[in-house]
């Protein structure tokens, strides 16, 4: 599904990713853990195509297509979805208007017909019910006045609606209380399927109790330094990141 080879990225002369290699298979849920400043969020932005970052080397292939040659919107249409750590508020843009515009833009880019309004409403309402998002929220401007938990649920709603192939969850657990964490995790789990893979970025093992990963990667200083199964997350929870910080210093 996704193959990252020797990715080297800098921002304003600061090298953040140093030859990162990562493979996520079809249907796999891969978790990336690592200390602050290890480059996790940078990786998520570079996959989604944020322009502030300069890619010096390497490639990111989604089913063989090089994402680095595509604009962010083309990547979205190709199936990339980034659930933002801090979803943005867009005053004046109605949530439904936004959802419909995004969905139809992606469909147009793929040469598909736009969704009719009744079909669209059905799709949104179905997804919203599962995520316990009430209709009032959908009537408001996107994310404006939403709580942290509501914003994260709105990200998952978008994911459910857009049906992406490759989902990056950037610290989706941050700012969530226990109930919100459960709702969001159930939303993600419901989307797990063949033909769809996930990259779950988190500091804490807590999220991985709810979204159980197939693989866990440890990232440090812009590279993947260790890979294991879900038990690796538990080890990290017990031992902390000290070992990886030392290896950075070495």
């Amino acid at each position: 599904m996704l193959e990252i080879k020797n990715l080297v990225v800098q921002i304003e002369d600061n090298r953040i990713l140093n030859g990162l290699d990562l493979t996520v298979k079809d249907g796999e849920v891969a978790a990336i853990m690592g200390p602050n400043g290890s480059g996790k969020s940078t990786l998520s932005y570079v996959i989604a195509g944020k322009e502030d970052y300069e890619v010096l080397d390497g490639e990111i292939l989604l089913d063989g297509e090089n994402l680095l040659e595509m604009d962010p919107d083309a990547r979205a249409a190709a199936g990339v979805f980034l659930a933002f750590q801090y979803p943005l508020e867009i005053p004046g843009v109605g949530t439904m208007t936004f959802l419909k515009a995004c969905l139809n833009a992606q469909r147009r880019a793929r040469g598909e017909d736009e969704l009719s309004t009744p079909d669209f409403m059905r799709a949104v309402n179905g997804a919203a019910d599962k995520l316990e998002i009430n209709k009032e929220m959908l009537k408001r401007a996107l994310n404006v006045g939403f709580s942290g938990g509501e914003k994260k649920r709105m990200e998952i709603l978008q994911m459910a609606l857009l049906q992406p192939k490759f989902c990056v969850l950037d610290e989706t657990d941050s700012g969530l209380d226990i109930d919100a964490l459960r709702i969001v995790s159930e939303g993600v789990n419901a989307l797990r399927a063949q033909g769809r893979s996930f990259l779950v970025i988190t500091h804490y093992q807590r999220l991985l109790n709810h979204i159980v990963p197939d693989t866990v990667h440890v990232m440090s200083k812009g590279r993947i330094v260790k890979t294991g199964g879900k038990e690796l997350a538990l080890e990290l929870e017990a031992s902390g990141y000290a070992e990886y910080r030392t290896s950075e210093a070495a």
Binding site: G49, E51, P72, D73, I90, V93, C102, A105, A109
Partner: protein
Amino acid sequence: MADIANLRTNAETGLSKLFETARASFATEEKIAREEAFKFFEATGLPSRRVEAFKYTDLRAAITDAAPPAETPSAEIARSASEAAKGFSGIEAVRLTFVNGHLIEALSDLARVPAGVSVRTLSAALSAGDPLLKSLAPVAQARENPVYQLNAAFMADGALISVEAGAKVETPLHLRFVGTGGNAFSTATRVLVALAEGAELTVLESHEGPDGVAYQPNDALDVTIADGAAFRHTRLNAEGDAAIALSTLSARLGAASHIETVNLVTGAVLSRHQLYLHFAGEEATAVVNGAAMLGHGRLADSTLLADHAAVGGVSREMFKTVIDGDSTGVFQGKIIVRQVAQQTDGKMKSDCLLLSDEGQMMNKPELEIFADDVACGHGATCGAPDEELLFYLRARGLPKAEAESLLVQAFVGEAIEAVTHEDARAALIGTIEAWLKARH
């Protein structure tokens, strides 16, 4: 001053000649008022940037020729021009159609004016000495303005609209101004609206005309809103791309009365919309919004004066300017709170979205407060579309142009949301969408 008066521009000399020709046709009663108005204008001339109120909009430099007043068009020309006008055309309304500044009765719904409303033509009112004429020029400060006085000297046609006490008129009145012709011409219209106590009226006003013709409309709307009455006004300036469009709205607000006026500018190479509000009665409220979509070397000026002269007035002013290419936006807003006007609540805001590196925005907010128990504030912002928001939208699949358009719509939409009349609001949003589509 005498020296300056001698250095008259070609346009000023032309205006004097045009006035001299026109005055022969004025009836005695109106002649004096017009002569006074023109005398006032002649003393100042076309205002240049040396005049503080015109610092950013130099009419002396912009108006190089005095365009001749447009004749009443033939029925055929008027009909085809009117049919081509699209502004608010889909909205169920009672229409008064002005072609080249002349009220065309055959294209107007004078026979189906709603109950409680009376409409007379300005020319009939002037020759009959209609008592309603005493409500002309309801705000003193407007009478010190050369653009308004020029209108007073030349006003060729218009209407007097009065609404009976307590009449809540549901069907909007649409003042449709259409310009037509291949050569430069000028128009001067004056519409007077008088709402008696507790009356309610919605007025839509659209201005359209030919591209590539340097025509010069100067339109004035005088509104008197009695106690407890409400006036709602949605205005669209979609003038041709070479027009120099000057306009003034002056309104006198009675106690507990309300005015809502929203102006969208998408047309004219140069436009200046002047608003004079006089809060004469206690606890009057005003929502005054404006939006301008500018490109291709254009300039749009919104100049506002809110004069709070009674207790407890509330005014909300929000202006949004979208600047593309090498265009210029101007906002001048002044809130005066007189000593008697305690508990005034005034908030004024001008925001600008810069879509290019070459554009510019001039903001001049002013507060003059003589009362001590008031809540007044003003703010101005200027900036490019937020890169983070653009990325968020693009990461969801919206191409760059579409993402930018959505942000522009959201930005301008905040000012348009204030339009109470649903169809009028939708029409303005549609106009904005068309502007954005044409841009890409």
